[in-house]
Symmetry: C2
């Protein structure tokens, strides 16, 4: 299948959706993207690396912008090929977007009048519309004001160890150099800056096993978890403002498990707790906070223990950096905090300001009825074209 | 393999252990038992029913005693064939037995001096030693004072629906008629009367699913379980005396489970709770008690619900019945409450007094190092011979 990069990015989004690319099965789409970049762009060095496709200019411009998007999707759920529909404009409902600055607010659809065009299909939101915008701009920007690096990568939707951008970080780190990085992840057409950190701890409760018919001979590990859950239920999360972005933290039990058999007092149970923390805390500081929060129930009970199982640092918004500030300007000054962890933190860890900016409501990602208002694709394309064409100061 | 029923029941126990009979694989042992009963007893009607072997006399005696034992074992764990060992007499340690009447007490081993003979092997405790005692008595009782019914059955160690005694209850109920039933389950050589009832409820907590990065949009079902576990941890179980047997109840979480993914606030979690209740409560009354116990956390929270998943009634001790009282006399007046649920409750449900009485420490059942002091086999045999030979009043 040949992709036409010069076509409307809405049509290009549909064409990308119509090439199935569930994680671990990206060879076809990577091949189509590589061929199109080689044939339909000028001035780019193009490199295929596994199922990643990389392209960059080297015009000697003073600054470099990196555009990155993953090519894979979650499993298809009867939602490929794409289909375009006209529907009543949804000024409220699933087009309602949370604004970090002012709380929930309703934003009018970009479509005028009472109807809007919508594109349905797996990946329309997450994130082939973002990929389409980047590919279209690479082929059609007449006078880019920045050198450009494009990275299309695989395996973002599965375990982190398979992540294609992670592979590039390890194997081709020089390709990640940039003054600002834009990930085309769905952000509802708003710039989402930074991201929260996340860590998981496993709180394990011990006890003494016994037959439940003689429960007094045992010491029930599941019962012991009760006081841990009580602390989590009572926890009041912090909200903090960084660079004008409001971050709201959260401490959540995400898994609980215990039990030996229906007639046994169990001697072990655990609860996995996920702490999402604002990027003004390091992982160590965040872990310390979790320990302090649970200290009242841990102290004096040697049968409760805590182990860090997983952590990634957050990313400070970095909007003070000049190229990032100009991007915010081009987007009309609108931005908000990103809550979920995304690959932007890989750039933040390298000192590169990075934002999420792409069409589509992130709440529709991974849904069977995943769909994007096509006007958002146009809007993001126009904003990025404006940003990338302006002279850096 | 030919079983010699007239031999010492210790040797007969070893012979039975040496015929592997894991649940669902009892054909060989049932065949050996059937053949031996047909060839080596007189006055018995013998019936093979699946892998159950039934035998009964009909001498027109005024009362009937039923002796029942299962032939199957849990899976073998390198502990077949049996082996006999001499060891230092364990007057304490695993020979310590809980007495319902007086709390824990240490009972001197039946072995004299400082050493005792022990028989190791899968089924030595649970419950081929009990089977051996019954088979030996059937072949050697010169003048039984009662008509006898013997039932050897299969599939006691697996799901209740396979239980061979259950099959006889449904298909040959007339075989269960008796004035007292003795199950040869391991009881440490003490008469264990009645049994507690057991029921399980699943307490399910609902909530609202959300990404854990935006946990305030969700309502965490696992957190909600905290208050349920707090009630269980604080519960003070009742102790009640019935017919001189002390029953101690227990309310235990036996399983807890919840969680969708490591980054999701879960909308469902559950805890399975096992209530072991004294036989003065019916199942309905016991369930009502569980509901009342949890009412403080359930009231006003429509996202907590409770469902009965499993129940069996307890069995009143029934020691006031004449034949049961004589058995207690023959055993020197020693008895205690049975805690675990056993097949005795099938007889209790039919109005037949039923006790557990067999050699072996029940705490060693299902263990790799399962073993029985051989003196207990002799002691139980002697007691039952005394009981079955005496004229009923």
């Amino acid at each position: 299948m040949t992709l036409n990069l010069a076509a409307d990015p809405i049509a290009l989004t549909a064409a990308l959706v119509d090439i199935p690319s569930v994680s671990r099965d990206e060879a076809a789409i990577a091949g189509a993207v590589e061929a199109a970049l080689r044939a339909q762009t000028t001035g780019f060095e193009v490199l295929r690396h596994g199922n990643c496709v990389l392209a960059r200019t080297d015009r000697g411009l003073p600054q470099r912008v990196l555009l990155a998007g993953h090519l894979d999707t979650v499993p298809i759920a009867d939602n490929v090929p794409s289909r375009r529909e006209t529907r009543a404009s949804a000024a409220t409902g699933d087009e309602t977007r949370a604004s970090a600055a002012t709380g929930d607010e309703t934003r009018a659809s970009a479509a005028t009048g009472d109807v809007e065009e919508v594109l349905y299909g797996c990946g329309t939101v997450d994130m082939k519309s973002g990929d389409a915008v980047f590919l279209h701009l690479a082929a059609t920007l007449a006078e880019p004001a920045y050198d450009l690096t494009l990275i299309f990568y695989d395996c973002e939707e599965i375990e982190a160890r398979f992540n294609g951008l992670g592979a590039i970080e390890r194997e081709l780190p020089e390709w990640l150099a940039a003054d600002v990085a834009i990930l085309g992840e769905p952000s509802g057409g708003l710039i989402e800056a930074g991201c929260q950190g996340t860590l998981r701890v496993r709180v394990t409760a011990g006890g003494t096993r016994a037959h439940s018919a003689r429960s007094w001979l045992g010491d029930n590990a599941i019962h012991r978890l009760g006081k841990v859950l009580a602390v989590l239920a009572a926890y009041r999360a912090r909200t903090v403002d960084i660079d004008g972005c409001e971050y709201r933290e959260g401490l959540s039990a995400v898994r609980v498990e215990g039990g030996v058999a229906g007639n046994v007092v169990p001697d072990e149970a655990f609860v996995d707790v996920n702490f999402r923390f604002a990027p003004d805390r390091s992982v160590d500081q965040a872990l310390q906070h979790v320990r302090e929060t649970l200290a009242p129930v841990f102290d004096g009970d040697p049968l409760l223990s805590l182990e860090l199982t997983d952590s990634v640092a957050g990313a400070l918004p970095g909007l003070a950096a000049p190229a990032a500030a100009r991007l915010v300007d081009a987007a009309g000054g609108r931005f908000r905090a990103k809550y979920g962890w995304t690959d932007v933190s890989r750039f933040a860890a390298r000192g590169i300001p990075a934002v999420n900016y792409g069409p589509g409501d992130p709440n529709l990602a991974h849904k069977r009825d995943e769909h994007v208002p096509v006007a958002q694709i146009t809007e993001v394309t126009d904003t990025l074209r404006r940003f990338l064409s302006a002279e850096p100061a």
